[in-house]
């Protein structure tokens, strides 16, 4: 039988019958075959999704970066920054280094910065701020200066910023000196169509958060801050200059903002083009050098394999394509890590929430060859480029993964991996729901089995899910309390053991408190079905908001969706390992949680509420599915 006639007979069975009967039979066949293949379809979705993750760093999926907005014209201007400005920066640096040696207070530093801005003839003031967190209070004093655009009044603004602390944790002395020298230099020119705002923020990200939330009038309750004396317009672009070392070899670009927000890719590409062609500085992503790893020599214990082993080593392990893949995978993984945890990779990260495109120019510490000269020059050129903007940068150039400084992935080439896993959950949920509506009924008299319809316990399932999930609020309240914060400083997990055990084992037992039911349909598969639906509803929309985070939940969803209902204590305990409370067992995990709590209370990064209100409850519900006995 040819394939076409087989296909025909599939859709048109038993010829000669009534056409309605044929239609019904056809429909039944289609439904049955969908039901039959659905488990495989679900697994295929998972599998393709996972394979796709590994495909993301492939060069074939990437695309060369390009400037989308024609107005930008990066690197098309003559720059004027020269050795006189470098000298000025050096003179600022001498004083700054003296203040570091003398351990100057926040106020002293800010007062000196204010004098310097005043000497340069720019309106300036300081701003003291205090964040109250569950770890205690965070104080600091920002210094800011406003220069109105000489061209037009009421124009948009650009911020040139340096934080006192670098993203490496060292004092950002040369960054601050660069901003001061830039302030003296840039304000001499009349070609600015935007206001220039110079900010030396105290601390690392907290100072800028305090400044920006005052600037935009969004002070959180935990912040007490002095109001600003001067004011400017809407900020479109911000550059944060981070130069902690003595000299630098590469310019590292940091771009990931709070809660997985990214700046417009055009800003990144302009910085890359200008640094390369105007500044003459090689550009890297983050702090990762753009070098492929060296060949790995074959280990001694594999020498016996002879020619075959040599071939594997030469053609696979040390293959250039694989090294290339590893380099790109590292870059994507770092970006995904920042985005999924919702942390900002630099001071620029606090800008994005106010719809400001911002990046950090990180001067990678080295013995040379670059210094103030190239950094000032490329910053000047970059500001001139952003000065050209007549309208905001284009929408939908905000979704990208950078695999190297000059290649990126468009949304269409990475989105499918998490969405496919979400679709897999949806298929699993639908199958579970359909299955729950039927019951095999065996009649001994007739020695015959029949499928009977039975009512599903949808509302009970949703109820169980909500009951377990609502405990997340308790976890959240505990994690953000003043009780919990000091415990994180412990060097051993012992004092935290009660917390870990309580939050990883107890909450699922809430489902055992449910009222008795006379229903014949089982409850555990219903709860699992509800869990699968919630996962599908979570993963797909989230992929548009924060792709790496949605991918994280997609990967979490796979083990959660493969558990068997009522399968007992062993899977219950294994699932407990997926609980974020387990992080408290490790020193790194405790540090990560401390950062998450701090970031949430100071910067509003949502990793902490997310872990308590979504991640934990998902695991609990899966655990509850294991222990519900019918």
């Amino acid at each position: 039988m040819s394939s076409i006639s087989r296909l025909k007979s599939f859709f048109k069975p038993s010829a000669g019958n009534d056409k309605h009967v044929a239609r019904l039979q056809r429909r039944k066949r289609i439904y049955t075959s969908i039901g039959r293949v659905s488990p495989y379809l679900q697994l295929a979705c998972y599998l393709i999704g996972i394979l796709w993750i590994f495909a993301i760093p492939l060069t074939e999926l990437g695309k060369g970066t390009y400037v989308d907005e024609n107005a930008l014209q990066p690197g098309q201007v003559s720059t004027y920054w020269d050795w006189a400005e470098v000298h000025a920066a050096d003179r600022f640096l001498v004083v700054l280094e003296g203040m570091r040696e003398a351990n100057a207070s926040h106020q002293e530093r800010a007062a000196w910065l204010k004098t310097k801005f005043l000497e340069l003839g720019i309106s300036t003031d300081t701003q003291a701020y205090t964040f109250s967190t569950s770890f205690g209070e965070v104080h600091g004093v920002n210094t800011y200066a406003f220069h109105s655009s000489p061209r037009t009044s009421g124009a948009e603004a650009m911020i040139i910023a340096a934080s006192w602390t670098s993203l490496t944790g060292d004092p950002n002395l040369r960054g601050v000196a660069t901003v001061l020298a830039l302030a003296g230099f840039l304000t001499r020119y009349t070609h600015w169509a935007k206001d220039l705002v110079f900010v030396i923020s105290d601390g690392y990200q907290d100072g800028m958060e305090a400044f920006l939330s005052t600037y935009y009038g969004h002070e959180p309750k935990t912040l007490s801050v002095q109001p600003l004396t001067f004011d400017s317009e809407v900020v479109w672009t911000a550059l944060s200059i981070d130069y902690p070392g003595h000299s630098f070899s590469h310019l590292g670009l940091f771009f990931e903002g709070l809660n997985g927000r990214l700046p417009n890719q055009d800003l990144f590409v302009c910085a890359q083009v200008i640094a390369r062609w105007t500044g003459g500085v090689p550009v890297i992503l983050h702090n990762t050098l753009d070098e492929l790893r060296p060949d790995i020599p074959m280990p001694d214990w594999l020498q016996w394999s002879g020619a075959a082993g040599n071939w594997v080593w030469r053609e696979i392990v040390n293959r250039r394509a694989l090294k290339e893949w590893e380099y790109r995978a590292g870059n994507v993984a770092e970006q995904a890590g920042w985005m999924a945890t919702g942390r900002a990779s630099g001071v620029h990260g606090v800008f994005h929430q106010f719809r400001v495109d911002a990046i950090t120019l990180f001067a990678r510490p080295a013995t040379g060859p670059h210094g103030f000269h190239s950094l000032g020059k490329l910053t000047e050129s970059l500001l001139r480029t952003m000065n050209n903007l007549l309208e905001r940068l284009h929408a939908s150039f905000f979704f990208y993964l950078l695999s190297s400084p000059s290649t990126f992935l468009k949304i269409g080439s990475y989105l499918p991996c998490s969405v496919l896993i979400g679709v897999g959950c949806m298929i699993g949920g639908l199958r579970g729901y359909v299955d729950l509506g039927w019951e095999r009924w065996y009649s001994q008299k007739a020695n015959d089995t029949k499928w009977l319809k039975r009512p599903r316990r949808l509302m009970e399932g949703v109820g169980a899910l909500s009951a377990v999930a609502s405990v997340g609020a308790v976890a959240y309240l505990h994690a953000s309390s003043r009780l919990f914060a000091p415990m994180l400083a412990a060097t051993s997990p012992l004092p935290l053991l009660p917390v870990i055990l309580t939050f990883s084992l107890l909450p699922p037992f809430i489902v055992l408190l449910r009222p008795d039911s006379k229903a014949t349909a089982p409850l555990a598969p219903m709860v699992k079905t509800c869990l699968l639906f919630s996962l599908a509803l979570l993963i797909a929309p989230l992929s548009m908001l924060n792709f790496p985070l949605s991918l994280f939940f997609a990967l979490l969803a796979i083990p959660l969706s493969l558990i068997n209902p009522s399968s007992g204590l062993l899977p219950f305990l294994l699932l407990a390992l997926l609980n974020p409370a387990m992080l408290l067992l490790f020193q790194n995990g405790r540090d990560a949680i401390r950062i998450a709590v701090w970031d949430w209370q100071v910067l509003g990064a949502y990793a902490l509420p997310l872990a308590c209100l979504i991640w934990m409850p998902l695991v609990w519900v899966a655990q509850a599915v294991c222990i519900i006995q019918e």
Binding site: H20, R23, L24, R261, L262, R355, R392, A395, S396, F398, F399, M426, L430, Y433, F533, L537, A540, P541, M544, L545
Partner: protein, 411 residues
């Protein structure tokens, strides 16, 4: 005329839930949440926005024609109402809360009228509570969108129709058609309810053309009187183009959860009249088939048509879909005949997540563009359409019933 059921029949403690829900919205309207939501495109359209209403009243009180210029698109009747009761926070909060309370009460009353004289279980209170707690109804009220008032008018008209009170029902529908023109399409099923009652009947009721004609004539009279009154309030005929005209001509392309705005932003001007005509006339084709097919149950025809209107109207808000989903609660007998209830429910859930998300990405975060929100309105349209098709199938199917080993091929 059937005996009216007294409110005392409700179980007292159960009434606490709707009361609390009303109190909640009253306090939320007075909270800072309300101004924050007020101009949200999903909750308030140019025809129902409270901000525009206040602007129009300000113009009107200053002696400037509010219908001059494209800001104010509320009906002159609404204008008259709010000139009498000033739109200050406390009064508005009270008005919108009362309107929602009336709407919820009407929903319960309609249900009771449909099942009477069988005993009344707690379902009426349940329906009212669901109506009040549904975010699609709740949020537009908090945003003081006048679509919540429109819902109250519609449910009140339907309630009077269900209780066979011809004139109040017709007056309310006439008032409603001034603020929401497409609702005029509900006249045929409303007349049928007035003639045959709110219950499904076997055999088919006999509709007397003479009485029907008399009812339609009465409605026409109200329309004429109200048009005259509107002319008197507004002082000129400018309001016709600004209110009714806006519904058909779509002059204001502010985004909304409906299917029109994006289509017409993308369109070349020379095609506009043709597609405006097509879009405006399209809902008309459903009226006769629905009314003919559901002669035995005009209330169901009314329900389906309301769904079609809320899906296809030019300036919908979420409360239109909310009303339709709430009305579904009056027909529990069809639930077991749904074909894919879960798929429909999931479509609605996805739409409910994607609408605010893509709206945020486009207009707040600035990382997305209009296509994002448009895509989510398509999902919403699909969800609404699927709800209508489900209800239509289930409504027809439920009249046949089910028989072991038998399948319905065609309805």
């Amino acid at each position: 005329m059937p005996k009216r059921l007294s409110g005392a029949a409700y179980a007292r403690p159960a009434l606490l839930i709707p009361a609390l829900l009303l109190l909640l919205r009253f306090s939320l309207i007075l909270s800072p949440l309300s101004p924050w939501l007020r101009d949200d495109h999903q909750l308030a359209s140019p025809l129902t926005s409270f901000t525009r209403l206040k602007e129009g009243i300000w113009f009107f009180q200053k002696g400037i024609d509010p219908y001059h210029g494209g800001v104010f698109r509320h009906s002159p009747l609404t204008l008259a109402l709010f000139t009498l009761i000033p739109p200050i926070p406390l009064v508005s909060a009270l008005l919108w809360t009362v309107a929602d309370g009336i709407a919820a009460w009407c929903l319960a009353e309609i249900w009771r009228a449909r099942i009477a004289p069988r005993g009344h279980d707690g379902r009426g209170v349940l329906l009212a509570s669901l109506y009040l707690s549904k975010p699609y109804n709740f949020l537009p009220t908090v945003a003081l969108s006048s679509s919540s008032l429109d819902n109250a008018f519609l449910l009140l008209a339907l309630r009077f129709a269900a209780l066979q009170q011809v004139s109040p029902s017709l007056i309310l529908l006439a008032v409603l058609s001034f603020s929401s023109l497409p609702s005029i399409l509900l006249l045929p099923p409303l007349v049928m309810i007035l003639l045959a009652g709110p219950k499904p009947t076997v055999p088919l009721p006999k509709y007397s053309p003479k009485t029907a004609l008399r009812i339609v004539a009465e409605f026409a009279l109200y329309m004429v009187v109200l048009t005259g009154a509107s002319r008197f309030v507004a002082g000129s005929w400018g309001w016709v183009l600004q209110t009714w005209g806006a519904t058909v001509m779509l002059p204001d392309l502010t985004p909304n959860p409906g299917l029109w705005w994006y289509f017409f932003t993308e369109m070349f001007d020379q095609y506009r009249p043709f597609f405006l005509l097509t879009f405006s006339l399209h809902p008309l084709i459903y009226v006769a088939p629905m009314c003919l097919k559901f002669q035995h149950d005009p209330l169901f025809a009314f329900f389906l048509l309301q769904g079609i209107i809320s899906t296809f109207k030019s300036y919908p808000t979420l409360s239109d879909a909310g009303l339709y989903i709430s009305l579904l609660g009056i027909f529990p007998e069809i639930y077991s005949h749904f074909r894919h209830p879960l798929v429909t429910a999931l479509l609605h859930l996805h739409a409910a997540l994607l609408l605010p998300l893509f709206h945020y990405l486009w207009l707040d975060a600035g990382t997305g563009n209009a296509n994002f929100f448009y895509a989510s309105t398509l999902v919403f349209g699909l969800a609404n359409g699927s709800t209508i098709v489900e209800a239509l199938w289930a409504g027809l199917h439920s009249t046949i019933g089910e028989k072991e080993g038998w399948e319905v091929v065609q309805l």
